[in-house]
C-alpha cells in the first residue's frame, strides 16, 4: 500500500491563533479514514489545506507522492482531490444536472457526451438522477447533501474529502447516505471523512484519527480509538 495523501508536519496560524500544530498523518490508497474531535479541533481547516482553499503556514501536503502544497484549489480538484463542504453550497441558479456537468467538464476535464455520461453517473450513484432538471436552489437539505456528494463525484476524485456530510439528517437519511458512501468507497475511492455522528463513521471507515487543539490525539483501529481514554476525556471533558 502507498499513501495517496500525506499531511507532513502541517501547521496553520491565523495571526496569533494557532489552529493546526505540526499535524502529520497519511491516507493509504483505497483506505477510508474517519476524523473525529470536538468543535474547533481544526478538522475542517485540515480538509481545507488538503483541498487547497488555503495554504498551510508551514509543512507540506502531498498527493500521490507529489508535493501539492502550492497548488491552487481548482488544480487540485483536476488531479483528483474531491471535496464536499459542511454546509452544502450548490450553484443555486443552475439545475442539478448542470451542477454536476460543471464538475465533469472542469474537475473531470471531460467534453461533450463523455462529460454528460460522467455527470449522469455521479447523479445515479447518489440517487439524484430523478432531480436532474430541478434548480438546485429548490432542493431539500438531504437532496442538497446528496448533490454536494454528486458534485464531488462528478470531478472523478481519487480522494474524497467529506466534511460532516451526515450532519443535520434524520436517522433514516443517515443510513441511506452510509450505503451511498460505502459503495463509493467500494469502487476504489479513498476517503477522509470528518463526522460527529460516530456510528455512521464506524460503519464505513478502516481507521480513525482523533484530533484536539490542532494536534493528533490518537489514531488507529476505529473502535479502539473511540474506546480510548484520550477520546473519552475530550468528549466527556474529564481531562485530568
Amino acid at each position: 500500500m502507498s499513501a495517496v495523501i500525506e499531511v507532513d508536519r502541517v501547521s496553520k496560524r491565523f495571526g496569533a491563533l494557532s489552529v493546526i500544530d505540526e499535524l502529520s498523518f497519511s491516507l493509504e490508497q483505497g483506505e477510508a479514514l474517519g476524523v473525529v474531535g470536538p468543535n474547533g479541533a481544526g478538522k475542517t481547516t485540515t480538509l481545507n489545506m488538503i483541498a487547497g482553499d488555503f495554504r498551510p503556514t508551514t509543512g507540506r501536503v502531498r498527493f500521490d507522492g507529489r508535493d501539492v502544497t502550492g497548488l491552487p484549489a481548482h488544480r487540485r480538484c483536476r488531479i483528483g482531490i474531491g471535496r464536499t463542504s459542511q454546509v452544502p453550497r450548490p450553484f443555486d441558479g443552475l439545475t442539478v444536472f448542470e451542477n454536476v456537468l460543471v464538475g465533469a467538464s472542469f474537475g473531470g476535464a471531460h467534453r461533450g457526451h463523455r462529460a454528460r455520461d460522467v455527470a449522469v453517473d455521479a447523479l445515479r450513484r447518489t440517487g439524484m438522477l430523478a432531480k436532474a432538471n430541478v434548480r438546485a436552489g429548490e432542493l431539500t437539505l438531504l437532496e442538497r447533501k446528496r448533490l454536494e456528494l454528486s458534485r464531488a463525484l462528478s470531478t472523478e476524485p481519487k480522494v474524497l474529502l467529506l466534511d460532516e456530510i451526515a450532519g443535520g439528517l434524520t436517522e433514516g437519511e443517515v443510513l441511506e447516505l452510509i450505503d451511498t458512501i460505502k459503495s463509493i468507497h467500494a469502487a476504489g475511492v479513498s476517503i477522509i471523512w470528518i463526522e460527529h455522528i460516530v456510528h455512521a463513521l464506524l460503519k464505513v471507515v478502516d481507521r480513525m484519527l482523533a484530533m484536539d487543539y490542532g494536534r493528533k490525539l490518537i489514531e488507529g483501529d476505529p473502535h479502539e480509538v473511540m474506546a480510548s481514554d484520550e477520546v473519552k476525556n475530550v468528549y466527556l471533558g474529564t481531562e485530568a
Binding site: 482553499d53 491552487p72 481548482h74 450548490p90 443552475l94 460543471v102 464538475g103 472542469f106 462528478s154
Partner: protein, 288 residues
Amino acid sequence: MNWIMAAIGGVLLGGLYALYATGLSVSFGVMRLINLAHGDLAVTAAFLSSTLVLTAGGSPFWTILVLIPVGFGVGVLLQKVVFDRLVGVDPALQIVATFGLSIVIQNALLKVYTADRRALDIGSLKTKSFSIGEVSVGAFPLLRFVVAVLVLVSLSLFLGRTSTGRAFRATSDDPEAARLMGINSRAIYVIASGIAVSTVFLAGIFSGAQTNFASSDGPGLLIFAFEAVIIGGLGSLWGTLAGGIALGLAQTLGAEQFTDWPAQLFGHVLFLIVLAVRPNGLFGRAET
C-alpha cells in the same frame, strides 16, 4: 403618428443603451465588480476608431473588426492589472479604484486628442431611412439595434449552452465552490472582462457614429449604462435589453410630450421611480 415615431426611436435608442450596459451587466453578474471607467472605455474606442479611419481611410465599420479584439485585449489587461485586486473586496474600494481609472483614461484622452469634439463619419447611412406607410425608421439606429440584440442573443447562448458559460454562472453563484469543482475562477474573470470591454468598445463606435464625442464624455455614457442595468435588473442579460429600451422610450416619449425639457431628464426620472418602486429592477432576481 409622432408618438409612434417617438416610440420606435426610443426602442432603437434603447438598443444602444443595452449595448453600453451589457459589459456592466456581465462584470457585475460574474464578479460583482462595478467599473466606473466603463463609459470612458467607450469614448476611447470612438477615438481609436477615428484615428484608424484618419490613418487608413475607409468607413468606421471596418475598425469594428479590429477594435473588438483590441477591446478584448484591453479587458484582459485591465483584469490582470486592476480588476483582479478588486474582486470580492469592499465595493467602496472598487468605486475608488475604478473612479481613478476613469480619471486616468480621461486625462490620457485629453492629452492625446485634446478637448476637441470628434465624430465618426458613416456617410449617407447616417441619414438614410425606411418608410413604412407614414412612419419612417432610421437605417442606422435600426442596424445598431439589430447588432445589440445579436450581441445579447450570442452572449445568452454562450452563458446558457456552453461549458464555459456554465462555469460563468457557477462562478457567479459561488466562486469558492466553483474552484472546488475544478473551475479556475480567475480565468473566468479574465474572459468576463474581455467580453465587457469589447462590447463597450462596440457601443462606443456605434455611439460615435451617431453623435460627436469628446474626451470627457465617459461619465455621461456610464450613467446611461448604469440606468439601463438597474432598470432591467442586475444580473439578467434580457433585463439589460429591457432596461435599455425602457430608458430609450422614457427619453423619446418624454421629449415628445414636453418639448422644452431635455430628453435625458425623463430617463433619470424613470430610473428613480424604478429604484423606489422595484429596487431589484424589472427582471431582477431578488438578491440573496
